[in-house]
């Protein structure tokens, strides 16, 4: 079995983008950030230490924001090269670099279990309305599934799917 640390090293751009996204959403939500580690060899590979958000919305946006940012950024970066490399087996070195970059970024889209517990405890602390808990509970469950799924490469599968899906859907729509 390939150690997780090796996977993290190979896909380090995804960790950096994930932390940048957390930081940017803290900025957007005006939540104080005390420390940021964009990448390190260790567990966690990156982190953003911020104050406890004031509202449920802040909790949600900061926790889930990187999922959207990493997914979209991964797809956009891999977009131009994915087709040449994966479909037509005709990519140059730059194409391979971009596919690696795109897949790496997308595969780190999943929020960590730390993010999930932070979102959930935030909702509990703020006496969130029951409907919000009902809406968010499956999201938190999905995050946990995603985190557990990384053991059997769910994050990599997701990364490849995100990198490939955009161009393929576009081709199908335009054909």
């Amino acid at each position: 079995m390939i150690p997780g640390i090796l996977i993290t090293l190979i896909t380090f751009p995804g960790v950096i983008v994930h932390e940048i996204a957390h930081q940017l959403f803290c900025r957007l939500m005006r939540v104080a950030v005390f420390d940021v580690c964009y990448f390190r060899v260790g567990n966690p590979a990156g982190y953003v230490i911020h104050e406890t958000p004031r509202t449920n919305l802040q909790h949600l946006v900061i926790g889930i924001g990187p999922f959207l940012v990493n997914s979209i950024a991964g797809a956009l970066i891999a977009f131009p090269s994915a087709m040449a490399v994966i479909k037509f087996d005709a990519g140059g070195p730059l194409d391979y670099v971009l596919v690696w970059l795109g897949v790496s970024i997308a595969m780190h889209a999943f929020p960590s279990t730390g993010d999930a517990s932070s979102i959930w405890s935030g909702l509990k602390d703020h006496n969130a309305p029951i409907w919000l808990k009902i809406v968010v509970a499956p999201v938190v469950a999905l995050i946990y599934i995603g985190a557990i799924g990384s053991i059997f490469w769910l994050d990599l599968i997701y990364g490849i799917a995100v990198a490939m899906a955009g161009p393929m859907i576009l081709a199908k729509l335009l054909a």
Partner: protein
């Protein structure tokens, strides 16, 4: 990755409890709505913590590479569209159209084995044997799926049967 896993130097609740004013500048005018005691200006400053120049450069380089690569994108998108059209034509047994689309794809990507295999099959079914023969020749020496090899060999055998010289009758 595990962003909220606390590293050893994370501020603790005890640290926060010891602070009487803003945790950074000591001002009494801290924002009471938050758990962390910070005044508005310190909170804004901490929220706007700058991203290090090195990280911004790395992100910029990645984006620049993506822009450069996107120059080639329209061409590969056109070919993906052509292949999709070929698949659809093949599904409705319009082999001539499928062949036409696959000729575009394999001209742009001559090393695309799956495209060549499809072209060999579709051109054969469309009755364009010249293209079939040329395509089969292009496939010689390439590693293909067992199933594809069987089909291509079958096409070769059929073509040989079709175009082999008539055996001369022997006079008795």
């Amino acid at each position: 990755m595990d962003d909220n896993d606390q590293p050893p130097n994370a501020p603790t609740a005890a640290d926060e409890a010891e602070t009487t004013g803003c945790g950074v500048c000591g001002s009494d005018a801290f924002e009471t709505a938050y758990k962390t005691r910070l005044c508005a200006s310190c909170r804004t400053q901490l929220a706007n913590r700058p991203i290090p120049a090195g990280i911004r450069v790395v992100v910029g380089v990645a984006l620049a590479l993506a822009v450069i690569a996107s120059i080639k994108f329209p061409a590969s998108l056109r070919m993906a569209i052509a292949e999709e059209r070929a698949n659809r034509a093949e599904a409705r047994s319009d082999y001539a159209n499928a062949e036409k689309q696959l000729l575009l794809v394999t001209k742009a990507y001559p090393d695309y084995d799956d495209g060549l295999v499809s072209l060999a099959k579709d051109s054969y079914k469309a009755g364009d044997y010249e293209v079939t023969v040329n395509t089969v020749n292009q496939l010689v020496g390439r590693s293909l799926d067992k199933e594809d090899v069987t089909e291509i060999e079958q096409i070769e055998a059929d073509l040989e049967k079709k175009f082999a010289p008539e055996p001369k009758g022997t006079a008795k």
